[in-house]
Amino acid sequence: MEILKVENIVKQYAGHRALDDISISTQEGEIFGLLGPNGAGKTSLIRIINQITGPDSGRVLLNGKEITPEDISKIGYLPEERGLYKKMKVGEQALYFARLKGMSKFEAKQKLKFWFDKFEISSWSGKKVEELSKGMAQKIQFITTVLHEPKLLILDEPFSGFDPINTELIKSEILRLKENGTSIMLSTHNMSSVEEICDSIALINKSKLVVSGTLEEVKKQYDSDVYAIQFKGIMMAFANALWTGYELIDKKQLDDNTAIAYIKMKNGNKINDLLKVVMPSVEVEAIHKVIPSMNDIFIKAVGGEIGGNNE
């Protein structure tokens, strides 16, 4: 079932269009990756979903109904630009945010105790935020985002600022929340984590939706019919054996006598055809289809462009 549906969102800022007819939908209980280069419009879209700004046209549906300000308590939002009051004590601050989300004092205190114990940070409760390291502050922020047990979590760059250990901690928490039925939308530049945890993705570039769907669908879409073939023998002999039906697009020498060649099939040739051609020249050790990584897909979809404006 769809939990969040974004329909034909257009957002125009002075002089440029931040979002151009964006439509996406996320399923209940899945982790949805919102990808795109800097300045693509991700944060603009996330802000519209959180009702921080309004779209010029289009609408956002939560559980099939147009979203209202009351739905805020059903959403947990961790913005990319996030921070805490430096002079305020950790415990007081977490309590304040929880109550702004509509929790009662009693309930908030109980839940906070649970999370502080879980992250082993109960001893920080009386400390001021300015005394904490950045990673510690990030943990507090994560807790305040999930404390009210929202049905939908929106995490904008959740891993930025964390060391690898804490990244793993947050990642496993995200997966655990998913198991408990929380739907999660996250934006990230960390493509390996997208492959690891996302069920489906949408990629936005230059204000437009470039590709969307489940991870497999997207990968299939970017399947370029490339095979990696590992062999013993001489690369020159291997290359000479190829006819016009194959294109050697990359190669990697593993040792003096072993190499991997990346071959793109042409004219409808299959693996068997390729094997027949090269087997007389080299000794084939392994062959497999190259599945595009999210990193490859990202670079391909964005067209190798780098940078952009701040969102």
């Binding site: 939002y77 913005p79 921070g83 009051y85 945010f97 922020q141 701040n310």
Partner: protein, 445 residues
Amino acid sequence: MSKLGLIINREYTSRVKKKSFLLLTILVPLLAVGFMFGAMWLTQEKDKQVSVLIADPAGWCHTQIYQNPNDNTNKNIEFSFYENYIDSVDVFMTGEQFQDYDILVWLTEKVPSSRRVPVFYRDQPSLQTEHYIQNRVEARLMEYFALKKTNISQDQYREIKQSFDFRFLDGSDPTGSDYSNEQAGVGFAFAILTYMFIFIYSMQVMRGVIEEKTNRVIEVLISSVKPFQLMMGKIIGIGLVGLTQFVIWLLLSGIGMMALRLFIFTDMNDPENWNADAMNNGLVESSMATQSSELVYLFFEAINWPLMLISFVIYFIGGFLLYSAIFAAIGAMVDSETDTQQLVLPVTAPLILGYIVSAMMISNPSSEIGTWFSMIPFTSPVVMMVRIAQGTLEGEFWQYIVSVVLLFGTFLATTWLAAKIYRVGILMYGKKASWTEVVKWIRYK
């Protein structure tokens, strides 16, 4: 508690709990009262006994100096006369027979023509003592020469010498007294107080907005509350801090004044002393007692304190709401406090203008400019305080109503506009917004 209530609560308690707030709130009135105590104490402190020798070979003084028994400075000064010549100062300083005298008033034969009277001291006397000696000896000399050169009697001379007391009274209230200077002074003090409170607390609102922006806590907040709630919560919370401070100051000042009356100026409690004329003998300059009775009159009669205090609260609230909304918008437009200066200056200009007009109104209470500025919302909180103290509102109370209504109406308008700038500005990082951008923000949906 509603979300607005939560925000107000945080803004209020986080500031009131600060050590600096407690220190400022309690120390300032203590210092002020302490300063007053100190100043009064010093003026009351008895000067040490001073022995004055008047070298008067011509006998102008007739070995007499009139000292008013009611004047408490005279008890410390004893005049003696030496009707011979003293050749030089050295004789006075070193001469055995003069060692008991602290001060020599040297009335040489040149005095009537040169009008210059040298007075020598061993240890420098207080200003008050100097003043008193000059006053007494001068009066004696004047009298001597007046009687010598004319045919009038001593009584006639003293009658002529009585000073005239000019009083400027309200024609519609001719039995009243003239305290316009004191009233203007109190009004101006309140104008400064209003100006400072509005300025200081509006700046706090701006700093709070900038803090939330630079901390990046802002987006976390507005995913839970509306920007307008956040802005108003901050403004109301900080405004309450200001009111709290004012009330504490008022209470502490009240206690301080009461202590002053009970322990220092006990004569103030005696209604006999309330009549300034009773103490005025015409020859002696205003003494401690007459000053204090005027002070008492000023505190209890000349100023409509309830109206004054209520008006301060009304104008502080109105002026603060008006300016703080603009300051909140400025905070949202910039990325750091250093960027604010050129934006703050034009906004505070009207407030400073109000201050200048208030100062002008001390000398010109019924000025037309003052009347206008006391109704224009951006200056009225400061200027109207002077008018209320001066009592120039009588019969024109409608101006007060107009002033308050305009002030609160303008506050609604500026808040509406500020909210539009605020809600966009708080999400803009990295640079200061230009005015054209700000105009575009106002138009955003």
